[in-house]
């Protein structure tokens, strides 16, 4: 028999670690919360979204290059007919250099205009990837594994608005680089993320050239240290992790040649990852006091592996995990526990999650964190039992400031109340919740019953009363979704 306290702790844990209950999951789930969470870790596999247009980066690459070739032909045809209407002569191609990227506005996603009201391929693909990953999160039992996917996807974030390639590949990136490694070892996810075409495009490494490589000597082009810096600052050691500008430049040298196969497919399938020796800076390169003299791609893998095992990385990851799941200022003992587990297990992520779920701190800390907009959206649609279309996902998330895979920088979306529980942020949420209440009003006959169902022992008498006294069903639902118990986890 579960005591009332256990039920309440279970309810709190499902909100803290999961995506919130669906109607009818109720007491059984709350009673078994800890076991269910641990069972997801033991299962060790994250589901993959279904019904996506392309299975992987290689398939996407082929389609993307074909799409870009079509666009280019169209542009040239237009230019030709505009410039020389009377003659059939070909107009000399004054196109940009092959690697020039279209200037895409970041941080927003206006579908490129297309003749027949049909958005262009990259945006269409993004749309379907978002829909598929949201469907998965709405179907999940507790949502714990999906929360871990969201955490790691944000840790190793890419931005879908940088280029056609990053837009069309953002969903694939999460499927290929993040999901398979959420219950694996950190260093595997690290290598998968840094070598994925979406990341190499997002942080410019596909264009970085070793100055002494064959291509560097021939073309006089050189390094781009963007990815190297963010690997150390944001993905592994953390900004105070003890590296220098020289280390940044050296890591950039080490990972020269990590690039994306071009449309000719010389080094593999167009659009997939390739190590291009012709771009790689030759020779041994020092990093953080060690020398790396491995040949080719192995040099970068060795450097990343050592970064993954660096003590600063264990502290950085432990702090971020504890901050995400427990509190903006997480208990020091919890951070130390997670960091120690990370180190001693060699970055075995399931071991770290078990330490988190097993810790008292994670169960007794008050529900202080406000749900991020994405968590709020998923928890709301789960509670309301709705299957949103793409517009019902993308619109509210853009309004609340957290569309999928579009952070304003490589540090990802913020993870603090200061960011999300702002005056404007709360006001915007109310607007969104009012809209959801209106949409769901007919489908939810009894908002009071739904409140009892999804909040259970967390439901306060004040919220119960506010829902009961609402002027309409839609307002009652909005009050439920905006109640402190629903907003905080």
């Amino acid at each position: 028999m579960a005591e009332p306290d256990d039920l309440k702790a279970g309810a709190a844990a499902l909100q803290r670690f999961g995506l919130g209950p669906k109607p009818g999951q109720g007491e059984a789930m709350r009673r078994q919360a800890r076991d269910r969470l641990l069972a997801e870790i033991d299962f060790g596999i994250v589901a993959q979204p279904q019904g996506v247009p392309f299975s992987g980066a290689a398939e996407i690459g082929k389609a993307l290059y074909a799409f870009e070739d079509d666009e280019k032909r169209e542009r040239e045809a237009k230019r030709a007919s505009a410039q020389q209407p009377a003659q059939g002569m070909q107009v000399a191609n004054a196109a940009q250099p092959a690697d020039a990227q279209p200037a895409a506005p970041q941080n927003q996603m206006t579908p490129p205009r297309k003749a027949a009201n049909e958005p262009a391929l990259p945006y269409r693909t993004y749309r379907e990837e978002v829909k598929a990953r949201v469907d998965l999160a709405l179907a999940a039992e507790t949502g714990f594994a999906e929360r871990l996917v969201m955490f790691w996807s944000n840790h190793f974030c890419v931005g879908a608005t940088k280029s056609n390639m990053s837009r069309i590949m953002a969903g694939t990136y999460e499927r290929e680089a993040i999901r398979p490694h959420v219950f694996g070892r950190f260093e595997e996810m690290l290598v998968a993320a840094e070598s994925h075409p979406a990341m190499l495009d997002f942080l410019d490494n596909r264009q970085s050239i070793g100055p002494n490589s064959p291509a560097g000597r021939r073309r006089g082009r050189g390094l781009n240290e963007n990815l190297a810096r963010e690997i150390m600052e944001l993905h592994t050691l953390g900004v105070s992790g003890g590296y220098s500008q020289a280390d940044v430049t050296n890591l950039a040298r080490i990972i020269t040649g990590w690039t994306v196969v071009g449309r000719e497919g010389v080094l593999g399938f167009p659009g997939s990852f390739a190590f291009n020796a012709g771009l790689h800076e030759p020779g041994a390169t020092p990093l953080l006091g060690r020398s790396y003299d491995q040949p080719g791609r192995a040099q970068g893998v060795a450097a990343l592996t050592d970064l993954a095992r660096h003590p600063a990385t264990s502290r950085f990851i432990a702090t971020k995990l504890a901050r995400h799941f427990v509190a903006d200022d997480p208990p020091t003992e919890l951070v130390e526990l997670l960091a120690r587990t990370f180190r001693e297990s060699g970055g075995d992520l399931p071991a770290v999650y078990r330490a988190l779920i097993g810790s008292d701190a994670a169960w007794t800390a008050p529900a202080s964190k406000i749900r991020t907009p994405q968590e709020f959206l998923l928890a709301s649609y789960r509670a309301l039992g709705r299957q949103p279309d793409f517009g019902q996902i993308a619109g509210p998330l853009a309004t609340m400031g957290q569309p999928f895979w579009q952070p304003s920088g490589p540090n990802g979306y913020a993870d603090s109340n200061a960011a999300w529980a702002s005056a404007e942020g709360i006001k915007t949420r109310i607007d969104v919740a009012a809209g959801w209440g209106r949409q769901a009003a007919n489908a939810v006959p009894d908002p009071r019953g739904l409140s009892e169902d999804v909040l259970g022992p967390l439901l306060s008498s004040e919220t119960r009363q506010a829902v009961a006294r609402a002027e309409s069903r839609s307002q009652a639902l909005a009050l439920l979704l905006m109640s402190p118990e629903f907003q905080r986890r």
């Binding site: 506005p105 600052e233 500008q245 540090n411 529980a421 702002s422 404007e424 009050l479 109640s483 402190p484």
Partner: protein, 416 residues
């Protein structure tokens, strides 16, 4: 609460709801008190706007030192020229302005814009996020993100004075760090969808008042700003680009001007434009950076127009976390650097001049042989502006607003 419902409790207004409304009413009430001259700053009713450019603006492209013999060689294909079809705009014969910024060039000619070059905060690493935290927290190093210097500035003004009571405006769904802290923060973002009705908002204010002080505070501030926006007659266009597009920058600037220009509006505001991290294909007279600079230039025009009645008392300061490498990198862009530019624009600016101790661009003159060396600490500029605008003393600036900066004297004579 004109609704009817079969729940007989629904018409009753609980004490806590009254309390919340009462507090909001009091905040509005202050705004209707007629304004009197501020003792500290003469008869001026000043406005100060801080624009943070996130991503690290390339100062050598925005304000190219074309007169420096080493400039063109470092910048190769993206170097700007002083003549030709896409010529940079002349400033003082040595420095030029990017051709995407004709408004700023005009403001400079009219004496309403000054440009600080080779400037930086005290931060000397190259992390965007730490760099922005230092710029916005006003602390000497990263790691302190509890509050920002504009919030502490407001808190340092005499209690009961109009400026401090009106709070500081932070633009964006996520407010910038520079405005966060204990003093009242108002939030606003360009609206993107229909707003919820007042009744729902009031009920939530009531519920939060009983259950959740943090959410109650946030909502109360939002209610206040919304009322202000409505009273100042601001239109609510929806949709449009984000803060890294010319369209988004203009809409944000228009909104801020509407709020800050209102009689009872905040006097101090911070906003952020994004997208300045030009590692690859930065472009020269045209291209990615040019589009962004054009957006910033359009925002200047929108602010000048929207704030016209108070423009003579306005200073807009534009700053970024650090600059970019002096030389172009391997991908026709620039990597993270150090020294860069800052802009001061507005009717209260003593402008028409470059403010710089130019370090030169020869290898030995660059910071760590790679970046424009910073010779002016941006904090001396910020201190100089707010000292003159708000009558803050040196010690307050050195201890409260920018702690531990006693050795950095406020720059004199920036404000007319």
């Amino acid at each position: 609460m004109e609704h009817h419902d079969d729940d007989d409790d629904c018409e009753r207004m609980t004490p806590s709801r009254r309390a919340v409304l009462g507090a909001a009413g009091a905040l509005f009430g202050w705004s209707f008190v007629p304004k009197f001259a501020h003792a500290a700053a003469g008869s001026r009713d000043p406005r100060f706007l801080l624009v943070v450019l996130r991503g690290a603006l390339d100062g050598l492209s925005a304000v190219p030192p074309i007169g420096d013999p080493d400039y063109a060689g470092l910048r190769e294909g993206i170097a700007l020229a002083k003549d030709g079809p896409e010529a940079a705009l002349p400033l003082d014969g040595f420095f030029y302005l990017h051709p995407a910024m004709p408004n700023l060039a005009r403001l400079y000619r009219e004496g309403r814009a000054a440009i600080v070059h080779a400037t930086a905060t005290g931060y000397r690493e190259r992390s965007h996020f730490d760099g922005q935290d230092v710029l916005e927290s006003g602390q000497s190093g990263p790691g302190s993100t509890e509050d920002g210097w504009l919030n502490r500035l407001i808190a340092s003004l005499p209690a009961g004075e109009g400026i401090s009571r009106k709070g500081v405006l932070g633009v964006g769904v996520v407010p910038p760090l520079v405005v966060r802290g204990r003093a009242p923060v108002l939030g606003w973002a360009p609206p993107r969808m229909a707003r919820a009705g007042i009744d729902l908002t009031t009920r939530l204010a009531d519920l939060y008042g009983q259950r959740d002080p943090g959410l109650a505070m946030a909502l109360q501030q939002a209610i206040e700003t919304e009322g202000l926006a409505r009273r100042s007659g601001m239109a609510e266009p929806r949709g449009g680009g984000g803060p890294d597009t010319a369209d988004g920058m203009r809409r944000i600037a228009e909104g801020v001007a509407g709020l800050v220009g209102a009689d009872d509006g905040p006097r101090i505001a911070a906003l952020a434009f994004e997208g300045w991290d030009t590692h690859a294909n930065e472009g020269g007279a045209k291209g990615r950076l040019a589009n962004l600079l054009g957006g910033l230039d359009g925002a200047f025009a929108a602010l000048e127009q929207g704030l016209a009645p108070v423009w003579k008392d306005t200073v807009v300061m534009v700053a970024t976390e650090f600059g970019r490498t002096a030389a172009v990198n391997g991908t026709v862009g620039t990597d993270h650097g150090t020294g860069t530019v800052a802009f001061l624009v507005g009717g209260a600016v003593k402008g028409g001049r470059m403010i710089t101790d130019w370090p030169g661009l020869k290898p030995g003159q660059l910071y760590q042989s790679r970046d424009l060396a910073p010779t002016t600490d941006i904090r001396t500029v910020a201190k100089g502006v707010v000292a003159d605008l708000f009558g803050l003393s040196g010690p307050v600036l050195a201890e409260k607003v920018f702690p531990g900066t006693g050795e950095l004297r406020p720059m004199q004579g920036l404000v007319v």
